[in-house]
Amino acid sequence: MGGSPGGPIDRGQHEVEDWERLADAINAALGGKGLQTTDQHRRAIESLEEYRDLSYYERWVAATEKLLVEKGVLTSDEIDERAASIRRHWGEP
């Protein structure tokens, strides 16, 4: 990974999940609105402390949250409250 030994590659196909499509769409929408660029997103992904523990789109989501908080578009509290409200309404994933 990144030129460092990363063990064997899992070549199995991965079915794209709905939340992953949504993560991709939100990313494109934020780019379209000028709120986020690919370079900023890459930088945010690289700086995630839990980088190696996250899947590809988990990194995308975590980096997008980080950028939106950094830019003052949303606060962490607002995001946490909304997530809690969705969980109350729809149940645990």
Binding site: G2, G3, S4, D39, R42, E46
Partner: protein, 97 residues
């Protein structure tokens, strides 16, 4: 442009912090200029919300796989091509290969 196709180059062994677009496994490695890709805003500054201007030349740089990896077992002619910005390159030694 500082470099021409066929020039030998070396990737700077810099440990510059923050977002860089040069793969870590190429740092300090010798290669050659394959072609000029174009000039682009510097992604290392775009990553932090700056303009990235002035634009920086981006080269396609060739490397021998055997120069990059210890114990490389593939054919000797195997190459790897990577796009590297000019500010990550310095002149290399020897004649073009």
């Amino acid at each position: 442009m500082t470099f021409e196709p066929g020039d030998n180059v070396r990737v700077l062994p810099s440990e510059k912090p923050g977002h860089v677009r040069t793969p870590g496994y190429l740092k300090g490695k010798a290669g050659w200029i394959e072609s000029l890709v174009g000039e682009f805003p510097n992604p290392e500054e775009l990553a932090y919300g700056f303009s990235g201007k002035p634009e920086r030349p981006l080269y396609r740089v060739g490397f021998r796989q055997a120069d990059l990896w210890d114990d490389y077992e593939g054919p000797a002619e195997d190459c790897l091509y990577a796009d590297v910005y000019e500010h990550w390159l310095e002149p290399g030694e020897g004649a073009p290969t």
